[in-house]
Amino acid sequence: MNEIITSIRRTPYQSLASFLILFFTLFLSLFFFNLTSFFNGILSYVETRPQVTVYFQNQTKESDIFKLRDSVVSSGKTQSVKYISKEDALKIYRDLNKNNPLLLEMVTADILPASLEIYASKPEYLAQIAEYLKKQPGVDEVIFQKDIVNKLISLTTGLRRVSLFVLLFLLLIAFIVLMTTTAFKIALKKEEIELLHLLGASNMYIRKPFLYEGMLFGLASGTLAFAIFYLIFLYFFPFLSSYFTGIPSLSFYWLGNFGLYVWPPSAYFLLLSYVITVLFGSLIGFVGNYLSTSKYIK
């Protein structure tokens, strides 16, 4: 530890450069990790929703809705069909907005539409079912979930690609900066390294402080990046909460069973973010300095 502190004191600007590049890399990694997690959460939520939802006009009779339901079921193209009455819709609405009494005050069952939630037996039937339903009397709107899922999939795939590209670019810059600053530090310690070799020190013994320094920088910059990112997030949380009203707790598929909710972020998700960030930072610091010391300490 003393050696690392001495090294930082002797090369403050180089150390700052290493720290800052790691900080920016980890901050952006954290940003993309959270964004991708959020969209994945949305995607897994949407995938659990009905594939086709038909909303009926207010005046449509329940008996007509049941007739339509039976005709859809008898087509053999559905896996299940669920009827949501106006009262059920009101109950769902109240559950979603239980924290917002203003939104509950004015709403009654009369103004909410009855609907059918339909799961197709095969994905290729979805378009046919949707087309059939659109032509039926009393139907107000048909929401064809596949479009949303496809859009979300393409959005998350695009986001992943952009994240990956940005991260690879940042990683490259981080490695170059780390290798250059470490090479400079090695040059400054040239006499000591020569002496250590003559005293019988192995290359790994000499490289160790540089590797520990890289890992320490990763740990410290990861911690700072996490702290700043979540301070910014907390600042905007009220705004985001009101913007995403109606979106329930989001998790990555089954990870919700472990309390890993990406929205609103659970303590486990925050802990996971922190651990991933500092591990990633330490890994970058270690690898960057490992490459540099492999090249310059022989």
Binding site: R10, E191, E192, L195, L196, L198, L199, G200, A201, Y205
Partner: protein, 225 residues
Amino acid sequence: MIKFDNVSKKFPLGNIALKDVSFEIADNEFVFLVGPSGAGKTTILKLIMRQYAPSEGTIIVDDFDLSSQNFQPVGELRKRIGIVFQDFKVLLDKNVMENVALSLRVLGFHEQQITKAVREALELVGLKGKERMFPAQLSAGELQRVAIARAVVGNRQIIIADEPTGNLDPKTAWEIMKIFKKLEGEKTILFATHNTDIVNSLRKRVLILKEGSLTKDLKKGGYEL
């Protein structure tokens, strides 16, 4: 034990630094290595430290055979050897204690052992009480004492000294020699020097080199330039 058997060293550009040099130094023996500049003294020391590989011949240091071009346990070999340089090679950003401790850290000593061993070594070289001083605060003679303490600490059994009095005035040089005298009989010492006064006064074994060849091996020799 250090043994050279018909050792030659040629450098890639063709210059020959050593030609068929043979000698044997027993454990705990004190030997001067003398000769004019370019005679091959430093080459012999570097061959012992395995900074160079021999071009021909056999070199044995303790139980290490350094003849192979692909000799691997360089670190283990060097852990048995303490080295003292003409220019001290004391690290300026470390204090006396830290400079000497460096040698022990390489040997894998624990912190408590290091403190004790460094204090003993500093007492041996007459630097007791100067543990916290930095090289900038020390004289040339004191810097060389730090280097000697670094070389002897941790029970390194072979001491290689490459003209350790070369940068010192005669009085200080004699003080340094007194420290080496204290080590006599406890460690194998190979002392390369130009200093005829020291060699002639101490009457130890002398290996005389000239143009890369060992010209004389005097059991209680003197030396004239």
